[in-house]
């Protein structure tokens, strides 16, 4: 099943409330996914700085900090429950290599504005654990998971991020992910799990890196990704939704002059401001809807 949610702010009015809005949406989608939850938030960026979202699991924060001190020059390191946001001006490749080799931690995403948090457990608990309510930002995406394709682990939780400032949440299942994973691995994309959605995220990263825009990437995905899906995907300045042509997996969009909200079911967005006055529609199958770029 799984529940997916997303908010893209068209004006600055609700930037401070973004976390609160997204948190309510995730909690309302508990019935579709009680196994794990996660979210990506796009926040204000600092020049030349890249933020790395790292899940340190059971490792003590001080131990992790000590472990990277001297190896990575960082400008800021912030602990949020079992996740760490590390800001650095160093070259991403160097930082990524060090983090990927660091035992016991897992990099969940990186980029100029993105911060990702995901963990196993009930959405209500996950949201509370990371204090999502206090987050501000420009857009955000979230997921509540009912595990089908792979195990209930942090690595099996969404959102998936396989490129800078990119993230993807998925409701559905892909049937050709093993073949695609082999192709994409040859092209240099690294995968951490056996999960089908991670492959779709890798596919999107691969296309975006070859200078296709988000809309074009998702259009070509309609031909290459086989299975059932509703995807919500985010980039630094953009946000999009697409459903496969059979459209078994639900989605509803509510658009006002201030925001665009997307969710698996309307009840996820029933608490949003002025939602009853919003333009509410169901995205048509096989059509990419995007905002920003």
């Amino acid at each position: 099943m799984c529940g997916i949610v997303g908010i893209y702010l068209k004006s600055k009015k609700f930037e401070k409330d973004l976390g609160k809005m997204l948190s309510g949406m995730l909690i309302n989608m508990e019935s579709r996914g009680p196994d794990s939850a996660g979210f990506a938030i796009y926040k204000k960026e600092k020049k030349e700085e890249i933020k790395y979202s790292i899940c340190i699991n059971n490792l003590a924060f001080e131990k992790f900090k000590k472990g990277i001190t001297g190896k990575i020059k960082f400008t800021k390191i912030l602990k949020n429950s079992d996740h760490v946001i590390l800001s650095s001006k160093e070259k991403p490749k160097k930082v990524l290599d060090i983090l990927n080799e660091f035992k016991g931690v897992s990099l969940v995403g990186y980029g100029k504005s993105i911060e990702i948090f995901k963990q196993i457990g009930n959405p209500k608990d996950v949201v509370k654990k990371f204090n999502l309510e206090n987050f501000s930002g420009t857009h955000g995406i979230g997921h509540t998971r009912m595990a089908t394709e792979s195990a209930i682990t942090t690595d099996g939780s969404h959102p998936y991020s396989t490129g800078s400032d990119e993230c993807l949440v998925h409701n559905g299942s892909l049937s050709n992910h093993n073949n695609l994973r082999r192709d994409l691995t040859k092209k240099g994309i690294n995968f951490k799990s056996e999960n089908d959605t991670e492959v779709a995220a890798g596919y999107i990263s691969n296309h975006l890196s070859s200078k296709k825009n988000l809309k074009e990437t998702l259009m070509s995905g309609l031909g290459d990704l086989d299975g059932f899906y509703t995807f919500i995907t985010g980039t630094r300045k953009g946000f999009a939704i697409v459903r496969d042509e059979i459209a078994c997996k639900p989605a509803v969009v509510a658009e006002t002059k201030d925001y665009v909200a997307i969710a698996s079911e309307f009840q996820a967005m029933a608490h949003l401001p002025n939602v009853n006055m919003a333009k509410i529609f169901e995205p048509e199958p096989g059509i990419v809807y995007s905002w920003g770029n």
């Binding site: 459209a247 309307f266 009840q267 996820a268 967005m269 029933a270 009853n276 048509e284």
Partner: protein, 227 residues
């Protein structure tokens, strides 16, 4: 009587509506703050009027018998699924599988209905004032589907004896679905349905009728060598 879903549990609201005391004579109910909840007004059996003020989730009015339900908003998947009798009027749009497997009653949708509208319908009359999505009336067995707008791909795929009336464009017909002649009796039937949906201004002659070519009913002996 007002039933507020912010104050009352959904189960309590549905129980109240399912067990109306005929002596009390209160036949009018309003549901406030539906907030996308599922299965609102499911399993009603009495001749009562219910107005839902807002958007609802899945299976609204499922299995309805006799009740007259109005939703002042959008409905999720499977509105009026397996309805037996009564009426459901949706003032907004409907998600997929509206009127699925319904045996009887009347479903009116003021907006659009998405994919698989009237899937496996078994006797219900459905009038959609807007358009319907792909695979509408899939395996539809009996009853009437009237669409005042357009129909998506594979309309009426593998259908049995449902009559489909479309005013707008049909993107494509499904397997064994063909356009059929509009006889006087069909025009009359359609006029009646349009009137019932308060669409008197529309003319039945502007619609086209689609139905089953009945070629999939029996196994063709000519194909036996394929197996």
């Amino acid at each position: 009587m007002k039933l507020d879903l912010r104050k009352l549990k959904l189960r309590k609201v549905n129980e109240t509506l399912q067990t109306v005391d005929p002596k009390r004579n209160n036949k009018n109910y309003t549901i406030l703050n539906p907030e996308g909840n599922h299965a609102i007004c499911a399993g009603l059996t009495d001749d009562i009027d219910v107005t839902v003020k807002g958007h609802v989730g899945y299976y609204c009015g499922g299995m309805n018998q006799n009740a007259n339900i109005t939703v002042e908003g959008n409905v999720g998947t499977g509105v009026a699924e397996n309805m037996m009798s009564g009426k459901i009027h949706v003032k907004g749009n409907a998600s997929q599988s509206a009127g699925a497997t319904a045996h009887g009653g009347f479903l009116v949708i003021d907006g659009d209905a998405s994919s698989r509208c009237g899937i496996s319908m078994k006797g219900i009359d459905i009038v959609v004032k807007g358009s319907v999505g792909h695979m509408s009336a899939f395996m539809a067995q009996s009853g009437n589907l009237v669409v005042c707008g357009d129909a998506g791909e594979a309309l009426g795929d593998s259908l049995y004896e449902t009559d489909i009336y479309i005013k707008g464009r049909v993107k494509s017909l499904g397997a064994d679905c063909v356009e059929k002649k509009m006889d006087n009796k069909h025009l009359k039937k359609l006029d009646k349905l349009l009137k019932k949906a308060k669409l008197d201004k529309l003319k039945s002659k502007d619609f086209k009728r689609y139905g089953s070519a009945r070629k999939l009913y029996n196994f063709k002996i000519d194909n036996v060598s394929n197996y």
